[in-house]
């Protein structure tokens, strides 16, 4: 029976164990995110990011995620930033295949994945997140303006021009008959509602599709 889950970590991405050790890893991830920022902004942004992510990662642990993957190096200068949460289905309680059925029956976007030796399903949904992003950006620009002493009102037009789409991709896959060899992957990212934004989003999704294919279950050596 396989007793280890293995996958490749994407270069430049942070892998955060959702749990007691997440603090240290989160600090390192945030440091990598702000590394390329101007020194004047680094500590302010890093403080804001850490405070927000800390609570969110804790919440994620409470609902059963065991790992969070997110781009760290250069994340703030990329057009898309997929956030990936990994969940191990509770094979003792439910047959993981039932989950495939459940997902297939509950989500019209569901389609079977081509994963050799495994059975899997993928869903994809998207929704407009423009309002939430505009609201957040407005607040943060105001905070930065106060910190650095510039006029925030000049940014109002840029904020008003913002468009954003949120994409949610879910993969649920594993080996039928091996209840320990199943994984649920939840990934989400936002992109501009433009052709360029959509192009970047498609590339990000292709990246996730291929990353999922690197997941394997092995016996401990």
């Amino acid at each position: 029976m396989p007793d280890q889950l293995t996958y490749y970590r994407l270069p430049g991405w942070a892998s955060i164990d959702v749990g007691p050790s997440s603090q240290q890893q989160l600090t390192a991830a945030v440091a990598a995110m702000v590394r390329d920022l101007p020194p004047e902004a680094r500590s302010t942004i890093s403080g804001q990011l850490h405070a927000e992510l800390d609570q969110l990662v804790m919440n994620l642990g409470e609902i059963g995620a065991f790992r969070l993957l997110l781009p760290a190096s250069g994340a703030l200068t990329q057009p898309v930033r997929p956030v990936v949460a990994l969940f191990l289905p509770d094979g003792e309680e439910d047959d993981p295949v039932d989950s495939i059925i459940a997902i297939a029956a509950s989500d019209p976007s569901a389609h079977m994945m081509d994963l050799p030796g495994r059975v899997g399903i993928k869903t994809r949904t998207e929704h407009d997140s423009t309002e939430a992003v505009r609201e957040g950006v407005e607040t943060h620009v105001a905070a930065l303006a106060q910190t650095f002493g510039f006029e925030a009102s000049g940014s109002a037009q840029q904020v008003a021009n913002l468009t954003r789409v949120n994409v949610q991709v879910r993969y649920h896959f594993g080996i039928p008959g091996e209840n320990a060899a199943w994984l649920s992957v939840f990934a989400t990212f936002g992109h501009e509602a433009t052709d360029d934004g959509r192009g970047a989003a498609e590339l990000a999704e292709a990246l996730l599709d291929d990353w999922v294919r690197t997941v394997r279950w092995t016996d401990a050596e």
Binding site: T6, Y7, Y8, R9, I63, A85, R118, F148, R216
Partner: protein, 413 residues
């Protein structure tokens, strides 16, 4: 067979046990379950059709195959529906037939028991009167003869009733057997109609279809649970994504008003320009190219050209990640057609690995599961990828399933 059932001692009547055993309620429940299964299979077939038809974005060979064979898949599903419908019909008729046969047999058994009791009683009476015939008194002898004659008549009548009851039991058994034969024939016919292909795609589809079919109350609870869990998860990770988006966009906007933040803004603009190069038409063309290559590789694999397959997979994996780099298409033409692990290929692969590490992880995943590539190629590929991973500092994360919260040491540089 139970010697005593429904208060009837069948051994008393000369049977090993209940000659018409079974629980019609259970059979009728089974019939209802088969009917539900057939109905759910129809729904499953429709769901599968939707799933198969909704895979335009998937370019993998196996999904193409499913799509190409979708008519066959649907036909297979219809046959499954037919099988379960036949099973339902068979059990639907058999349940009442069994109940009727049991009722008849039990009523006849009750009559037989009563007849046998009377027969025994009258036979005993005859014996008693025969003993009375030995009396010295003439009157008593005459009365005993008369009583014995009457008792014999009653015994014969009881015996006739007993035989009639046995005949009714035998008729009930025959009716049960006939109904059973008809049910079995229907089920066998249904099974013969359902000769699904034994390919992994079909098995996977059947797993899904049968799972859909078996979605009872528990299954519906699972569906609801999945939906609920999904909502929770999306809420939380969407917040993380939103937080990162907001900070990144804030930086780019604030930089316009506050020049010291311009470095971040320029970086965003630079990436934006890079992405601007990937117009939709180019992307579509690239995806189409990947699809064609995938089919080619699959065909190579079918033809047993494992060595070329390994190289081909690198090419495909790298192609799909060209968009993430500035390498261009040259490496693809360099490595295509060359033998696995020759010097030039290895050098190119190493170069590609540095810029496209995920390409090689995809390769590894392919080879670990695609038996048709052959064990030699798979082992070589895995070994090579592992070496490259270590050389180039890629991280192979291991996660112990026995202790989900613990992280195993990684295979790293």
């Amino acid at each position: 067979m139970l010697p005593v059932s429904n208060g009837i001692d069948w051994r008393y009547l000369g049977y090993d046990g209940d000659p018409v055993p079974g629980c019609p309620d259970t059979i009728e429940e089974g019939a209802a379950a088969y009917k539900k299964t057939a109905q759910d299979l129809s729904s499953g077939a429709r769901a599968l059709t939707t799933m198969v038809d909704s895979t335009e974005a998937i370019v993998m060979k196996t999904m193409d195959a499913i799509r190409e064979d979708s008519d066959q898949v649907r036909a297979g599903m219809s046959e499954l529906v037919g099988r379960y419908s036949m099973a339902h019909a068979a059990l639907r008729d058999y349940g009442p037939a069994l109940r009727k046969a049991q009722d008849q047999a039990r009523a006849a058994a009750a009559d037989a028991i009563e007849a046998k009791r009377r027969y025994s009683m009258h036979v005993e009476e005859v014996q008693a009167q025969r003993r009375a015939m030995l009396s010295f008194e003439a009157d008593q002898r005459i009365r005993a003869v008369e009583q014995a004659q009457m008792a014999t008549t009653r015994a014969n009548a009881a015996n006739a009733d007993l035989q009639a009851a046995h005949d009714r039991i035998a008729a009930a058994i025959a009716q049960r057997d006939e109904a059973g034969d008809q049910a079995a024939q229907r089920i066998e016919t249904g099974d013969e109609l359902c000769a699904l292909q034994d390919s992994w795609q079909d098995r996977a589809q059947e797993v899904v279809a049968l799972g859909l079919a078996n979605l009872g109350a528990a299954g519906k609870a699972v569906v609801q649970g999945i939906i609920d869990v999904g909502k929770f998860v999306w809420e939380h990770i969407d917040e993380i994504s939103l937080a990162l988006d907001v900070i990144a966009i804030t930086l780019s906007i604030a930089a316009l008003a506050f020049p010291p933040l311009a470095a971040a803004a320029l970086a965003v603009k630079g990436v934006g320009l890079l992405i601007a190069g990937f117009k939709a038409a180019q992307l579509v063309a690239r995806v189409a190219s990947i699809a064609k290559s995938s089919v080619g590789v699959y065909q190579d694999a079918q033809n047993g050209e494992g060595g070329k397959v390994a190289v081909g997979v690198i090419a495909i994996a790298a192609t799909s990640f060209l968009a993430f780099s500035r390498v261009g298409s040259k490496p693809i033409s360099v490595i295509r057609g060359k033998q696995w692990l020759d010097g030039a290929t290895k050098a190119t692969a190493q170069q590609l690995f540095r810029s496209h590490p995920i390409a090689f992880t995809t390769l590894a995943a392919e080879h670990s599961f695609r038996a048709q590539f052959g064990p030699k190629v798979a082992i070589d590929a895995m070994k090579f990828v592992g070496e490259l991973a270590i050389e180039n500092g890629a991280e192979h994360v291991k996660h112990s399933l026995s202790s989900p919260r613990r992280v195993e040491p990684c295979l790293t540089n």
